[in-house]
């Protein structure tokens, strides 16, 4: 599976990652090589195999719907880059 520059630019955008222009050729090569490696899987017929998404096939545990955590907003926001009045600050989204 070979990717080109525009594929890498699209993936980086989907992942919201800024990639330096100069690094794109190397990422393109690395990602193509990794996809070649994982393509070894395609040689195996898995049509009758159930996908496995948990090591011990456990199911989601349920609990009684009651409050288990207290509100620690101020403590948890103490490590935030920009907070005002308990709200996270970001650049203006709506004009």
């Amino acid at each position: 599976m070979s990717l080109d520059r525009s594929d890498v630019e699209k993936i980086a955008h989907l992942a919201r990652l800024q990639i330096d222009e100069a690094d794109i050729p190397e990422y393109t090569q690395n990602l193509s090589n990794i996809l070649d490696l994982v393509d070894q899987m395609q040689a195996v017929d898995t049509s009758s195999v159930e996908p496995m998404d948990h090591p011990t096939d456990a199911v989601q545990r349920l609990r009684i719907d009651e409050v288990s955590e207290e509100n620690q907003r101020d403590k948890l926001q103490s490590v935030s880059p920009a907070v005002d009045l308990g709200l996270f600050q970001v650049p203006k989204v709506i004009e």
Binding site: D23, R61, V93
Partner: protein, 485 residues
């Protein structure tokens, strides 16, 4: 003092040979004097350590000491520690002072342990050499030109260099066992779900598992008695009664059936590694075990399946690092998209970006069935190989790694070259099985690890199998310090 195991140090504390404050102070001084050459710690928490040691001594004086009271250990910098920087080896979290404790940290605190500090690691646990850390590479104490392995390379190097009697680690594809092998220490990756993941910064949630990195199997059992157990705050925590991991350590091995996967002993295996592992297996035969060849036919598919599943889960988990709520934020973002992209682009290193992009691609529209679903189907085949094999034998043995420690810089140019280092370890994470690495020899002055794989929930048996070997051999006692390195 620095050559003593946790079990021996606990005895010394009980006998009053030294106090926890004296022991902790000795380790802190040794870290200050020696860690410049290894870079095994990111943060040393001197003040907190001495306060914990003082409290432990008071607990002991009051007659309330437990088995772990006053014992100093180090924690991989992936476990959130309240009031302490928890960086995960990344610029992204360089400024993150955790406002809460991981369950593992909480449990060690409750047991009266002393935390010396936070150990270096590959960025977000993605790596097999500890070279991807924002805080610089860790050096292998056996040869400082070599890597210690990864991602728990700082923990492994600290234990090997006697800068901590023991440490915690995490293992997503071999990150406890591989560095344990390359640094000549003992490491246990428990069954998925044994050790709580709460507050353990997530890489690939269906594979991540915390565990002990120690001088001996006995110490690993002592650590598991603290670390293990159900945690309601981890949605995938195993709901099983807690058990005494030390209970079966000394059971005889008569009649133990050991399976040797032919795929692990191919002609490609490094001859020195093969020789040391074969010698260890002979030792097991002398201890009463029998061996038989088994097959794990889908072994070669573990690397391809892993490098879809782990990056896919990572791309999802690491989307939380957005420059908004905590962690690194870029300077003067012009709009929200710029804030996300530059914070992530500047905050993450190259390997993390690679894996996020592989995962994003595999999960993107139109590719899901070909990559993620396919990898999950392969994952079941790999698990089934182990289930079949473990219906014939009690444990499986082989090398932990295909080579001894390699040179710093040797494998950084080709990510795939690095990925192949984990060929023997990552299939266990896909299957969710427990595994250990124990030192079983040396080649050119570098340690060799024996991997022991057990059935689900069979940690006590693994620890027993490893402990009996360590009763009969001295490999785990070798240290770069006593070897004059």
């Amino acid at each position: 003092m620095f050559e003593k195991t946790l079990a021996e140090l606990a005895q010394g504390l009980n006998n009053g040979d030294y106090s926890s404050v004296e022991l902790t102070d000795a380790y802190l001084n040794r870290i200050k004097a020696e860690d410049g050459q290894y870079n095994s710690y990111i943060t040393v928490t001197e003040e907190q350590a001495l306060a914990q040691a003082k409290a432990a001594d008071e607990t002991r004086a009051a007659g309330n000491a437990g088995p772990f009271t006053g014992l100093p250990i180090a924690h991989k910098d992936i476990f959130c520690t309240e009031g302490v920087r928890t960086s995960c080896g990344s610029r992204m979290l360089d400024n993150f002072i955790s406002p809460y404790n991981a369950t593992v940290i909480e449990k060690f605190n409750q047991a009266g342990a002393v935390s010396l500090g936070k150990t270096n690691m590959d960025e977000f646990a993605m790596g097999s050499s500890n070279e991807s850390s924002f805080y610089g590479a860790v050096k292998n104490p056996w040869n400082t030109e070599c890597v210690p392995g990864g991602s728990s390379g700082g923990s492994a190097a600290a234990v090997a260099a006697r800068l901590a009697p023991a440490a915690t680690g995490t293992d997503t594809g071999g990150s406890i066992r591989q560095p344990a092998a390359l640094c000549g220490i003992t490491g246990l990756k428990p069954t998925y779900g044994r050790v709580s993941r709460f507050g353990m910064i997530a890489f690939a949630s269906s594979l991540d598992q915390g565990g002990p990195m120690t001088r001996s199997a006995e110490d690993a059992a002592m650590m598991m008695n603290v670390m293990g157990g159900f945690d309601g705050r981890d949605s995938t925590s195993l709901q099983m009664d807690s058990e005494d991991y030390c209970a079966d350590l000394s059971k005889p091995l008569d009649g133990l059936k050991i399976g040797l996967p032919k795929e692990y002993f191919s002609d490609d295996l490094n001859p020195a590694i093969a020789q040391q592992v074969q010698a260890a297996i002979k030792e097991y035969e002398a201890l009463g075990a029998t061996t038989q060849e088994i097959s794990l036919p889908n072994t070669a598919l573990a690397v391809p399946a892993y490098y879809i599943i782990a990056p896919a889960e990572a791309s999802s988990n690491l989307s939380r690092f957005d420059g908004v709520r905590y962690g690194y934020r870029c300077e003067s973002p012009v709009d929200l998209e710029d804030l996300y992209k530059r914070s992530r682009g500047e905050g993450f290193g190259a390997e993390v970006k690679r894996r996020i992009m592989v995962g994003t691609y595999a999960l993107s529209e139109g590719f899901y069935d070909a990559y993620y679903k396919k990898a999950q189907q392969i994952r079941r085949l790999i698990k089934q190989d182990f289930v079949d094999a473990l219906s014939q034998v009690d444990v499986i043995m082989g090398p932990t790694t295909p080579h001894p420690a390699f040179k710093i810089g040797e494998k950084t140019s080709d990510p795939i070259d690095m990925y192949m280092e984990d060929i023997f370890t990552l299939s266990l994470n896909l299957a969710g099985l427990p595994g250990m690495s124990v030192p079983c020899g040396q080649t050119n002055g570098l340690p060799v690890g024996l991997q022991i794989i057990g059935n689900y929930f069979a940690e006590r048996q693994l620890l027993n199998v490893a402990h009996r070997f360590q009763q009969a051999t001295d490999w785990h006692h070798l240290s770069p310090v006593s070897a004059g390195k």
